[in-house]
Amino acid sequence: MTEQLLSVLGADGAVKRKNRPSLTDEDLLLLHRIMVRTRALDERAMLLQRQGRIGFYVPSFGEEAAYVGSALALDGNDWISQSYRQPGVALLRGITAETMLDNCFGNADDIAKGRQMPVHYSFRKANMLSISSPIGTQIVHATGIAQAMKIRGDGGVCLTYFGDGGTSANDFHTGLNFAGAWKSPCIFACINNQWAISCPLERQTGSKTIAEKSAAYGMPGVLVDGNDVLAVYEATRKAVARARDGDGPTLLEFLSFRMGPHSSSDDPSRYRPGELEAEWKKKDPIKRFEAFLTKESLLDKEQIEAIHAEAEAEMSEAAKVSEKKPAPTIDSLFDDVYADMPPHLADQREELRGEGSDHRQDADAAFPL
């Protein structure tokens, strides 16, 4: 376990240490473009929510480096079990913004058929699990997936994302404990954005870091600068290699900061000082990586601006397309409860069909979380 913060990029974008990851220029530019597109998606979706066009949203401002950098260290065959705050992982795995916004609009094209709140994606073809709201449940699924890969001898690994608050959940404990006992090829990636809604880390746990919790499970724990996309990539790459080599799981802590509200329903000014936000704004992981890319002459200012503009245009266009799609059919309410529809559900569908169309629409608009 390293108590020291692992970091590669300086605040000014200079590479501090010699062990700069061996990423191709292509990969470096990919990392950048995904981070920028995610930021643009989050901004667009928050706008849609403010305008009342979607019901709810969870932005990930400031955490882009932590999840994009780590996801790049995986193979396409590896599986990902995530929480609601890593939208860029899907973009990296080739999911379009339109598909993601179909979920936020809950329209007929939504893979989840409009059954879950916005940002609760499911991307089977990208080996990304269905996201759910209860905190932490996905952590123990990851252990099961990793162990299944090991049983089958597939050579894959599973990476799971969760927050600092998530480390208090029962499933954090069982997920890591089972993986430690079984030596499952699993990577536990905690994005420590220092807040669980209004609860700061020091009220969440008595330990100073999340990384040191790994000692309880006999696995290494690594504390990584989560706003440093190169450090994140490098630490994850090592953990993945370790898992693939049969040496078992690793706990990674990506120390970052939630620059925005917890969700579109949250007001951080109730519980944390504005100065803190100002301070962390200076550490914006995208800006920091752009300083590096500029220093390395991989991009210049105009190119960067063009990438941002293109991303914004992409998201605006995707939203327009997605918004126009119809809602799921009423009949679809009864599908997918079981593999085959049992008689009582067929009866209830008949009951509903017989009812006519006078369905109440008086839902209280103000969702509190």
């Binding site: 709140m117 608050g165 959940a169 029962n170 209004s198 209830q348 369905h359 008086d362």
Partner: protein, 327 residues
């Protein structure tokens, strides 16, 4: 008397009971400086301090489990579960420990505590912010399960529960948190007794049984029925466990026609229990099937929430069914 919302009634009840009894403590996620995600505990940390309005780590089993310990020691904890959908990690502590403590210890120990939690649909919360889990608790001996439908009952019942000696699941219908207002007595000794149903509206033709937000939907349906000359009696159950069987049976015996309405999923829901009690104890008075108007046996949806949740229109269809029934 003051006019207040259901949510304000919750806050008022908590504040009065905390002022009355130092042993009353609150604990839960985001309930301190943030005042709870629905603001039910707004201002209470400031007034009573961090020691009595305790922000917890993110673990419902820990919230309930430590509250059980506090209750065993002599405090009167009132834990909040942020959404009732997130109560399941605490299910073992509730079912195995809190509910059974008095019985298994031969009465030596007890858990006088009230788990408050917003429940039900109607706020576009989708799959995991909308469920109605009351049946799980109603099947658990040792628990008291309470659901208020008005600001007055909210305050009076919550205060009674906090003063009572049994563990309570207090389900707050979040759909009416801010939309239902009413007069509430200011007297800090105003209490509403647990275990007693309320006749929300009298009528001789059909009995409609409901609780929580659904009471308002049923009152709406009763108005639709009235236009067709059908006089509906709406029974607001208020306490789901133990049920006020007498109130249910006497209304059923009077009208002979019963509809039970709830938001929850149908199979093995509380509506089935109400139906079974009447089918066992008042069948000779019945002139029609006992009709259940409920959420469907699917998980709770997001986009189609308005289709899933029983509307006044659907309750009215149930009323018609029992009225028009011919043996």
């Amino acid at each position: 008397m003051s006019t207040m919302t259901v949510l304000q009634a919750v806050t008022a009840a908590l504040e009065e009971e905390m002022a009355r009894d130092d042993d009353v403590v609150l604990l839960g996620e985001d309930i301190g400086i943030n005042g709870g995600v629905f603001r039910a505990t707004d201002g209470l940390a400031k007034r009573f301090g961090d020691d009595r309005v305790i922000d917890t780590p993110l673990a419902e089993s820990g919230i309930v489990g430590t509250a059980v310990g506090m209750a065993l020691y002599g405090l009167r904890p009132v834990p909040e579960i942020q959404f009732s959908d997130f109560i399941f990690p605490a299910f073992d502590q509730i079912v195995s420990e809190m509910a059974k403590m008095r019985y298994r210890s031969g009465g030596e120990f007890a858990c006088p505590m009230v788990i408050r939690t917003p429940y039900g649909g109607g706020i576009r919360g989708g799959h995991y912010h909308s469920q109605s889990p009351e049946a799980y608790f109603a099947h658990t001996p040792g628990l008291v399960v309470v659901v208020p439908a008005t600001p007055e009952d909210t305050k009076g019942l919550l205060k009674s529960c906090i003063r009572g000696d049994d563990p309570v699941i207090f389900l707050e219908p979040k759909r009416i948190y801010r939309t239902v207002k009413g007069e509430v007595p200011d007297d800090p000794e105003f209490l509403v007794p647990v275990g007693k149903a309320r006749t929300a509206r009298g009528g001789d033709d059909v009995t409609v049984v409901a609780w929580g937000a659904m009471v308002h939907t049923c009152l709406e349906a009763a108005q639709l029925a009235e236009k067709q000359g059908i006089e509906v009696e709406v029974i607001d159950v208020r306490t789901i466990l133990p049920l006020d069987e007498e109130a249910l049976l006497s209304s059923a015996r009077k009208t002979g026609k019963v509809v039970v309405a709830m938001e929850a999923t149908r199979t093995c829901g509380v509506a089935s229990e109400v139906s079974a009690i009447i089918a066992e104890k008042a069948i000779d008075s019945l002139q029609a099937p006992i009709v259940r108007i409920t959420g469907y046996d699917t998980p709770f949806p997001y986009t189609l929430e308005h289709v899933y949740m029983p509307s006044a229109h659907r309750v009215m269809a149930g009323i018609k069914k029992v009225v028009e029934f011919d043996f």
